[in-house]
Structures are given as C-alpha cells and as structure tokens.
C-alpha cells in the first residue's frame, strides 16, 4: 500500500454537503461528529472548506437549483476524494423519484458524469443511525 493511500485511510477529513435534504440525515451526521461517538480516534475531522476535504458527506437529492452548485463543489474538492451518499434520498431519491423539481439522475450518476473515476459509497437508511454512518465510512476506507 502506498504511503499516500495509508495517509488517506488514516486521516479522512469530512465536509458536509446538504443538498436541500429534510435535515434528518444532517442531524444524524452532526451526531456522528459529537464526542459521544468519538470519530477522532479514526482521524476523522470536520473541515470548513471543501478544498481541505477527503470525503463529502452528501445528504438529500439533487434538484435543478443545487445541481450546478454541487458540480462546482465536487470540482473544488481535491482528488482523491470519496463521495458518501447518506440516506435514501441521496441513494435513489425514493419517494421523490417522480417529482417535478428533482433532477432525473440520482447522485452517483451525476458524480460519474463529471468524473468517471469518481468513487461513491452508499449508506442506506432514513436516516441512517450514527453507528451505521461510522460503519459505512470505515468499510469504504478499508476497501480503497
């Protein structure tokens, strides 16, 4: 395993992207970052700027307003980076799949459109528990 990959696995910095969700997933993401679950022992840290981030925690579905902004934000994240789709809305839009204002493509197709080598990891749940989010992030890092 190369040194850069070891560094990426031991120190993933998170940036929280909320694409107009209902905020349940955001509450669970904020819970993950509290001292109770102590994600700092894995080296995980919340950063304020997407340029510093290794992992984008995306919640909510992409709608027409957010799509160009999300594309800009993905381009501003320094590669290599992993996009984590948190919750059912980010995975497959569930009940909003036929809505008028949501983009016809779910998150992973939008990411692959901008960047065919983009890595997307899926954490299902509505909303997923903090333990599930931690498990998903660690499994994705292990499989890199």
């Amino acid at each position: 395993m190369s040194l850069a990959l070891w560094g990426l696995k031991k120190s993933p910095w998170l940036y929280h992207v909320a694409l107009s969700p209902c905020n349940n997933c955001d509450i669970e993401i904020l819970d993950v970052l509290t001292p109770r679950f102590d994600v700092e022992r894995f080296g995980i840290k919340l950063v304020g700027s997407p340029r510093h981030a290794d992992a984008l925690l995306v919640s909510g579905s992409i709608n027409h307003h957010v799509k160009p902004r999300f594309i800009e934000l993905y381009k501003q994240t320094a590669k290599p980076c992993v996009v984590f789709a948190i919750g059912s809305c980010a995975l497959s839009k569930t009940m909003f799949r036929d809505s008028y204002n949501f983009d016809p493509h779910p998150l992973d197709e939008v990411v692959k459109e901008i960047d065919p080598n983009g890595i997307v990891a899926y954490i299902p749940g509505c909303p997923p528990k903090p333990e599930a989010i931690i498990l998903g992030v660690l499994k994705a890092l292990q499989s890199l």
Binding site: L3, A4, L5, W6, G7, L8, K10, S11, P35, R36, D38, E40, R41, G43, L46, V47, G48, S49, R51, H52, D54, Q76, A78, K79, P80
Partner: protein
C-alpha cells in the same frame, strides 16, 4: 573553515527537524488532552504525521482568480521564517553563550513572518471569505503584539538591559527564575494570552473561525501547500512555549535531573494552553481587540513598572 561551516549547517538542520518533531508531538498532545477533557479517547500518536502525509498526496487546486505565484509561494515564505526562528531559538537555548547581541529582537521579527505570509497568501487567493479572515488576522496581530513586546522589554530589563537571549537565560540561572517575582507572574499571564492568540487557538482563533468563515484564512489551500501550512503551525506550536520557557522559566538545561525539570516546564505551559482552549468560547474580533489594548496592555505596563522598582 569549510568543515566548521558544514558542521554548523548540519547542526541547524538537526535543530529544525527536532523542533518539527516536537511540534508534531505537541499537536498530538493537544488533541489527546482535548479528547480526555471531553471524556473520549482521541487520535493515535501518529495522527499529525498521517495528516501531513495525506495532504502531500492530494492535488493542488489553484483558484482561477488568484495570483498564482504569490498564492503558492507564501506558505513557503512562512515555512522559511519559522525554520529560521526554530534554528535560532534552538541554538540559543541549547548553547546560551553562543547568541549575538539583539537575537531576541531578530527572533520576534522572525516569528511574525509566518502570520504575515498567511495574510499575503489569503489576500492573493481571491476569495472574499479568505480576505475577511486575513483582515481579522491583521487586527489580531495589532492586538497581541503590543503586550507581548512590553513583556519582552520587562524581561530584558530584569536581565540587565543586555539584548541577548543567552544572558536572559544565564541571569535567571544565577538570580532565580523570572517567574518567582511579581512582574514575572504578570508577564506569564500576559505572555500566555498573547501566545494563545499567536497560535490561533480558542478564544482567539478568529481568523480561522471554523463555524463562521468556512476555512477562514486558509480556505483556498489544498494538498501540499496546506501541508506546508500545517507544518508551519506545528513548529509555531513548539516554538512559542519554548520561548516562554526561555524568557520566564529559565530555559532548558540538559544535565541530569534538570532534563526532567525542563520537560515539566514545557509540558505545563502546553497543557495550560490546551486547557484554556477547551474551556472558553471564541471572542469576536472587536472584543479581542478591546481585551488586548485594554486590560492586557495595562497589566503588561504594570509588570514593566514593577520591574523598574525591582520587584
């Protein structure tokens, strides 16, 4: 001649690497003590090294509207400044008789360079958030440098008006630590607050306010330039407590039992800084300015007057 020159260069490189390792250890200690205060475990010992290795492996993104050369060069200027300060401070603390007249003044100048380099880099990045962070950092420098310099003047006066860090350390060795006098205690409090502001730690982490300004002064940096900035901050985290130990607590002596006493002095200052960081909210920039130009400067001037009267 050439051999002694090569030996000096090797010595300085080793001192700078030593302070870098000390800085990385101190930043791990900061995160571990913070974790224990918050009743959790905290990161493993290699975490700061892993952060820097990871940052070196990412790509460098340069924003479109930025001045590319200045943007990429300013972290390197900051690193050069702090490396020179580390070499000077380490050399004078290990061998107090080998400084030069005015090395305290040179050290204070060199310690301002990393902050100014960050301000220049943030201003050249073309991001309004970074420019707000840069303006706040400029105001903060105006705030904390004044009491800092007054305390250094106090310590120079107590050492007999000799502008050498070596004579400050030696005079403490002969006539007792500066800390055991009232002006020393006042100087300790003022220096602690100024160090907290210089290191950019809560309650004074105003330029890089995570929750208010996305990344503040370092928003647009990514990859290797960000790794250089993190290395600079780690070395600053080691140098500022060491400077405080030299000015007020008698410096480092590497002889027998005094090694433990030196380590204890350094660790007490670092743990005090971390505990202040964990128990305070962040100040607004105008509150911080009023604090530094009001009570803290008055306290520093009182310390200077007490030193004139021999206390």
């Amino acid at each position: 001649m050439i051999e002694s020159g090569i030996i000096s260069i090797v010595k300085f490189v080793l001192i700078v690497i030593g302070i870098l390792i000390l800085g990385l250890f101190t930043s791990w200690l900061d995160r571990k003590v913070t974790a224990r205060v918050q009743a959790r475990v905290g990161p493993p010992w290699f975490q700061p090294v892993a952060d820097i290795i990871k940052l070196l492996g990412k790509e460098t993104l340069v924003p479109e509207g930025s001045g590319r050369t200045v943007f990429l060069l300013s972290p390197l200027f900051g690193l050069a400044g702090i490396a020179l300060a580390a070499a000077l401070l380490g050399h004078v603390m290990l061998w107090p008789d080998e400084g030069f007249i005015g090395d305290v003044v040179v050290l204070v100048y060199l310690l301002i360079i990393p902050t100014v380099a960050l301000i220049i880099g943030a201003s050249s990045s073309g991001n309004p958030i970074a420019s707000v962070g840069a303006s706040r950092e400029m105001k903060l420098i105006l705030g904390y440098e004044l009491p800092y310099l007054i305390v250094i003047a106090t310590v120079i006066y107590k050492a007999g008006l000799d502008l050498r860090l070596g004579s400050i350390i030696n005079s403490q060795f002969q006539s007792g630590l500066n800390f055991w006098s009232i002006s020393g205690v006042i100087g300790f409090v003022v220096l602690l607050l100024s160090t907290q502001a210089k290191l950019g730690l809560v309650p004074f982490d105003i330029p890089e306010a995570d929750q208010e300004l996305m990344g503040g002064i370092i928003t647009e940096y990514s990859g290797p330039p960000l790794a250089v900035i993190k290395i600079t901050k780690a070395m600053l985290l080691a140098i500022m407590p060491l400077f405080m130990v030299a000015l007020l607590l008698g410096g480092i002596r590497l002889q027998g039992l005094l090694i433990l006493w030196s380590i204890l002095k350094y660790l007490v200052i670092v743990v005090l800084i971390v505990l202040i960081r964990n128990t305070n909210p962040r100040l607004r920039i105008d509150q911080a300015m009023k604090l530094f130009w009001g009570p803290v400067t008055i306290l520093a001037i009182i310390g200077l007057l007490l030193a004139f009267w021999g206390l």
